[in-house]
Every structure is written in structure tokens, then in C-alpha cells.
């Protein structure tokens, strides 16, 4: 494994940089020891590793301002890092430099505004932390949870437009950001959203993102390449009295795709998460599952919430009516029942997909984990499933597809996932993910949390004017290319 890439930091001025970093962060928060750097040099994916030169544990905004000013002056790369769980190699340094770790010491829930329903967070807050805080102190409010482990970052996922268990009603997490505080390349601080009004220390003015020009786009999905976020306000939602789930089982790609689209359009379920039956069997203890002929292809979990029993029952009836229509159209049967009781029958372990946040064991039990996670046109789910299945077969990998309806089926998530043994199988998996990417691109999918190698492939087919504008924007936001350089393959 080749770790040393061309770091921009040359060995001669390393000790000078170290002294400056120690001055900014305190000696105990700075390290350049190889064994400390190593965990930041790779992730679970096939993305090429790369060593940083320093790790700094960030504690406050002042430190961020000082380090950015210094780095900009010296053209030193800064790689912002929370927990590195993005599954896209997005915190692997491409040109060495300083990893700014926000996960360990800059992780306060600054404020929950109960009536305006938002949480003001430091970058390092995790899903588990926010979940526990709300449950214990604001049980009438809720946030969303992805399939990601509870120890992964909320802000990291918001600024990467992650998807979660409220995505069918509310869409991508990027849409739910009310405001950001960001340190720009020259060390100035900018506050985006309604927080631009009033006292800058106020925690009460983070209620909305519009109606001014939406500058949030300069930071969302940029993978830390345009500025350093130091605060982020995320929308919370009222928690309804009843929160239950339905479980449906669908037989083939056409039926599953229609089910995801049509149930999404009903606008009554919080989320639709479809996983291949193989994945359900992984959770139930089969390490190398194979789909048997008559097994249904996709179990689908439908989290739903309602104000009371009557409201819930109306929703269930509407889901069942929609199912009847699909059954008729496709001459099929879709079985549907209460998830809690189904799970108790089939095996409690299946709950890993439902009790979020949670460690989804099938996702983390191998040393390697990768996926081609995409935003997909809902109409193309059927060929996507069928053609991706062929790639899984070609590479002899258990089929693992995860799909969602987003924002009432305006768009969908299509995410084929591969678990593998990192040392043994990486080369084969690289080929498999490359093949899957081609299928996805063919059907108009756009990869999210885009690894560099995928971004480079994307650049070959996208509008060149978009790319030119994108590069100009990066140059404007980061003239010395210090913020996570190399991301998006530019």
C-alpha cells in the first residue's frame, strides 16, 4: 500500500509548521507521529490512501481562523475531518497537509430552539449524541437518522446531502440546513441564512435559510473544499404520537421500482428503504447469502408516523389501496404487515435496519466497505436493479442493493453496496464498482459523496461549461487551493 503521495509540505519547513500549529492548537492537540497519522490516511473503501503531515484536534473557532490564515499564507492543505465515515475517501489527503479533526473536541450541541425547531451544532456532533439529547430533553422533537453508525457526524452528513429515515417526506439532509457559520480562506467568518441578522453570538436567529440568495450552495456538497464550517443549524421536526413501520415484500425489479415510486408519491410515509433479500439474510446470520428462486427480491421498510390511531389507520389503508393498484397492474402480490411483529417472528436482528441510529452489522463486519451511492431518476430503478444484478453475479458478490424514495419520489437513491476483505479483494472490487458506476451513469444517476476516481469519470461526460464554472467557483472560494485540495478530481 503506497501511502506517501506528493505532499505539498517539504521536510525542511516541517518543524516550523509544527511550531506554528502547536502555537495555535496547543502542543497536546498536534501530532505528526506516523502511527497517529496512519488512521487518517485511508478508509474502508477502495480509494487510494494518502498520508497527512499533521493532525490537529480543533477546539474552537478562533483556532480555525488562525490556522486558515496561516495555511493560506503558506499554501498548506487543510483537510477538515469529523469521523471519516463518509465511504468515499473524502477525508483522505490528496496532497498531504494538515487534517483538522473536529470530531474529538469541537462537538457541542450549542442550542436546541424548541419553538423554531432547529439544533445549532458544532461540526463534531454525532447522530447518537443528538438522538440521545433529543430523546432525553426534547422528546417532542426528532431529527433524522441514516444507516450510518451512531458515532458518525451529523454536520458531515448534512453538508454532504445525506439521506435518512425521513427522506421520503423531507428529502436530502442538505435541504434541511437553516444556517452555517463558515471560515473563509482569508480567515474571515461568514454566517449564511437568517443568522446573518442580529447579534452574531445569538443562538436564536438561525430559523431559516431563505429568502436571500442561497449562498449555502457554496458549501454544501463541496466536500470541505470551499471553507471550514464551524456551526451548522439543522431543522428538527415535531415527533408525532405514533411511530411505527410497515414491512412489505416485493417480488421483482419492476414491482419493487413501482412500489418505491408510488408509495413515495402518496406523501404519507416518512421513508421507504428497500434492501435486497440477501441483505436481510446477512442481518439474520448468513454471511454469504444467495437468493433462492422463490424468495421475494426486496423487503421494504416503511417508517410512518401519525397523530393518533385513527390517523395511522388511514395511512395504512391508503398504503394498502396503493398496493392493490400495483398488484393489479403487475399481476403480482405484495405482502405487507406490521414491521415490529414481523421482526419478532423472523428474527429480532432484522431490526438493525429499523432502530436508527444503530450499527447496521451487515455493513460493518468486513474490513472493506464501498458503494456506488447515487441520486437516481425514479423511472430508471428497474433497469438499474436488473443490470447491476448482472455485475454482482459477474464478480460473484452477494447482491446488496439499497434504494429509497426521496421527497415524495421526486428522485430516488440507488446504492449498490459491496463488503469485502480489504487486503485480499480490493482489486476485484475496484473493477466491480467501476462496472456498477457505468450502469448507474448510463441510467442518469449522479454519484453522491463522490470519490475522486468517480468524479474524474463524471468529468468525462458532464457539461464542460458546468465544469468550467465549478472550477472558477473553487478558485474564487479558495485561490490558493488549501481546502481539501484534489476533491472532485480538480
Amino acid at each position: 500500500m503506497k501511502l506517501e503521495r506528493n505532499s505539498r509540505i517539504n521536510q525542511t519547513n516541517k518543524s516550523e509548521i509544527k511550531s506554528k500549529l502547536e502555537e495555535i492548537f496547543g502542543a497536546k492537540n498536534v501530532t505528526d507521529k506516523k502511527h497517529n497519522l496512519l488512521p487518517y490516511s485511508y478508509d474502508a473503501t477502495e480509494c487510494e490512501p494518502g498520508m497527512p503531515d499533521f493532525i490537529c484536534m480543533v477546539e474552537n473557532v478562533g483556532q480555525v481562523i488562525n490556522v486558515v490564515k496561516y495555511a493560506n499564507n503558506k499554501k498548506i492543505p487543510l483537510v477538515p475531518y469529523i469521523t471519516g465515515n463518509n465511504i468515499g475517501g473524502l477525508t483522505i489527503p490528496q496532497e498531504g497537509g494538515v487534517v483538522l479533526d473536529f470530531g474529538k473536541k469541537m462537538n457541542q450541541i450549542i442550542h436546541i430552539h424548541e419553538s423554531h425547531m432547529y439544533a445549532l451544532l458544532e461540526p463534531g456532533v454525532t447522530f447518537g449524541q443528538l438522538y440521545k439529547h433529543l430523546k432525553e430533553n426534547y422528546p417532542h422533537l426528532r431529527y433524522c437518522y441514516p444507516f450510518a453508525p451512531p458515532y458518525s457526524g451529523v454536520v458531515g452528513n448534512a453538508i454532504l446531502s445525506g439521506m435518512n429515515n425521513l427522506s421520503c417526506i423531507h428529502g436530502s439532509m442538505g435541504d434541511w440546513i437553516n444556517g452555517l457559520e463558515v471560515v473563509l480562506y482569508d480567515g474571515s467568518i461568514v454566517r449564511i441564512g437568517s443568522c446573518f441578522m442580529g447579534d452574531k453570538l445569538s443562538v436564536d436567529n438561525w430559523h431559516s435559510r431563505y429568502p436571500m440568495p442561497d449562498l449555502m450552495g457554496l458549501f454544501v456538497n463541496w466536500q470541505g473544499a470551499t471553507g471550514i464550517v464551524t456551526k451548522c443549524a439543522v431543522q428538527l421536526w415535531p415527533r408525532k404520537k405514533i411511530e411505527r413501520k410497515l414491512l412489505a415484500i416485493c417480488k421483482n425489479s419492476a414491482v419493487t421500482a413501482e412500489f418505491i415510486r408510488e408509495i413515495g408519491r402518496l406523501e404519507i410515509v416518512d421513508d421507504i428503504s428497500a434492501v435486497s433479500v440477501e441483505v436481510a439474510k446477512m442481518a439474520l446470520g448468513d454471511p454469504t447469502p444467495v437468493k433462492l428462486d422463490s424468495e421475494p427480491d426486496f423487503p421494504v421498510i416503511l417508517p410512518m408516523s401519525a397523530h393518533n390511531e385513527q390517523h395511522y389507520q388511514v395511512k395504512v389503508d391508503l398504503v394498502n389501496q396503493c398496493i392493490k393498484k400495483i398488484e393489479k397492474k403487475y399481476n403480482t402480490t405484495i405482502q405487507c404487515t406490521d414491521f415490529d411483529y414481523f421482526a419478532a417472528c423472523i428474527g429480532d436482528d432484522i431490526r438493525v435496519f429499523a432502530d436508527l441510529p444503530n450499527v447496521i452489522t451487515p455493513l460493518v463486519e468486513y474490513s472493506g466497505l464501498t458503494w456506488v451511492g447515487t441520486y437516481a431518476p425514479p423511472d430508471n430503478l428497474e433497469p438499474l436493479i436488473d443490470e447491476t444484478a448482472q455485475v454482482f453475479i459477474k464478480f460473484d458478490i452477494p447482491m446488496f442493493i439499497y434504494m429509497k424514495s426521496m421527497k415524495s419520489s421526486h428522485y430516488a437513491i440507488f446504492r449498490p453496496i459491496i463488503r469485502y476483505k480489504k487486503e485480499l479483494e480490493e482489486e476485484r472490487m475496484k473493477k466491480a464498482t467501476a462496472d456498477i458506476l457505468e450502469v448507474c451513469l448510463k441510467y442518469g444517476c449522479i454519484p453522491y459523496k463522490t470519490p475522486v476516481w468517480m468524479a474524474k469519470r463524471l468529468q468525462e461526460i458532464i457539461d464542460p461549461n458546468w465544469l468550467k464554472f465549478f472550477k472558477r467557483t473553487k478558485k474564487f472560494m479558495d485561490p490558493n487551493n488549501i481546502f481539501n485540495p484534489g476533491r472532485w478530481g480538480i
Binding site: 437518522y145 415484500i249 415490529d340 411483529y341 429480532d348
Partner: protein, 151 residues
């Protein structure tokens, strides 16, 4: 009588189909209960549990072994068809009893003349399914979930 099998354990195979895994899970709810062990021991019967519109699972009771196989066989003592996974969860919840299941056609039986086998299997299966129902009820109330705060 009960002491006779107290120390014995039921040996299960590892079914690799999803419904077979479920049947195993249900049968395991009372796997250490001496009364249950007595019902299982040397029963030596083959039962097919069919899930309508999905597929059949064959459960072979032999000595202290329970083998759960994907698909069906010609050589069975009883064939029970469960109308849907909703019927299964209704049985678990207690919203549907086995008798009303038969009467309403939500559960169908072949070789009904083996009434003793049917009754014996009901005594094996239904209390376990009801225990699953209890677990489902707890989970619905938020008890024992994997994300339970303070768990």
C-alpha cells in the same frame, strides 16, 4: 416425565432461506422449556408450512433434531398454508386464533385427517408464535429496541 428431557437440547440446522430462518426463530422461542422439549422429542413428523404466493418451507422433526428446508416434499404428514405474512403476524398478536384461521380460510390444511398431528403441531407452533407476538408488542412500545437510550 418432564425431567426426562430437561438436559437435552434441540439441534437445528441453519436454513438459508428467509422464511426458513423465520420458522427457526419462532421454534426457538421455547427451546429450553421442558414442556416444549417433550413435544418435540421423537415426534418424527414432517410438516410443510406454505406461505401463500411466496414459497413452502418443510420442517422435519426427528428425535431432538429440527431440520428446516426450503421448498416442499411429497412425503409429509401435514401441510399448512398460511395465507399471508399478515396472517402470520395476526396469529402472533392473537388477533387471529388457529381455529378461526381455518374457518375463515386464512389458514388451509392438507391431510386434515391427521388431526392428532395437526393438534400436536398447533401445540408446538402457536404458543411460540404468540411469544413472538409479545416481543413484537414490546418493541412497538419502544422496549428492547436497538436504539433504546440507556439500554
Amino acid at each position: 416425565m418432564e425431567n426426562r428431557v430437561e438436559k437435552e437440547i434441540i439441534e437445528f440446522n441453519n436454513p438459508r432461506d428467509i422464511l426458513g430462518m423465520g420458522i427457526k426463530n419462532i421454534l426457538q422461542y421455547r427451546k429450553t422449556d421442558p414442556k416444549f422439549l417433550n413435544l418435540i422429542k421423537d415426534w418424527n413428523k414432517t410438516i410443510i408450512i406454505g406461505f401463500k404466493d411466496i414459497y413452502d418451507v418443510t420442517v422435519i422433526f426427528k428425535g431432538m433434531n429440527i431440520h428446516i428446508n426450503y421448498g416442499s416434499t411429497q412425503d409429509y404428514d401435514l401441510w399448512l398454508e398460511i395465507g399471508s405474512i399478515q396472517t402470520m403476524t395476526d396469529l402472533a398478536k392473537g388477533d387471529l386464533g388457529p381455529i378461526s384461521g381455518f374457518l375463515t380460510g386464512k389458514i388451509k390444511v392438507k391431510k386434515i385427517w391427521n388431526i392428532l398431528v395437526l393438534l400436536h403441531f398447533i401445540r408446538i407452533f402457536i404458543p411460540n408464535l404468540r411469544m413472538a407476538g409479545d416481543v413484537g408488542e414490546l418493541r412497538q412500545k419502544g422496549i428492547g429496541r436497538r436504539n433504546e437510550v440507556g439500554a
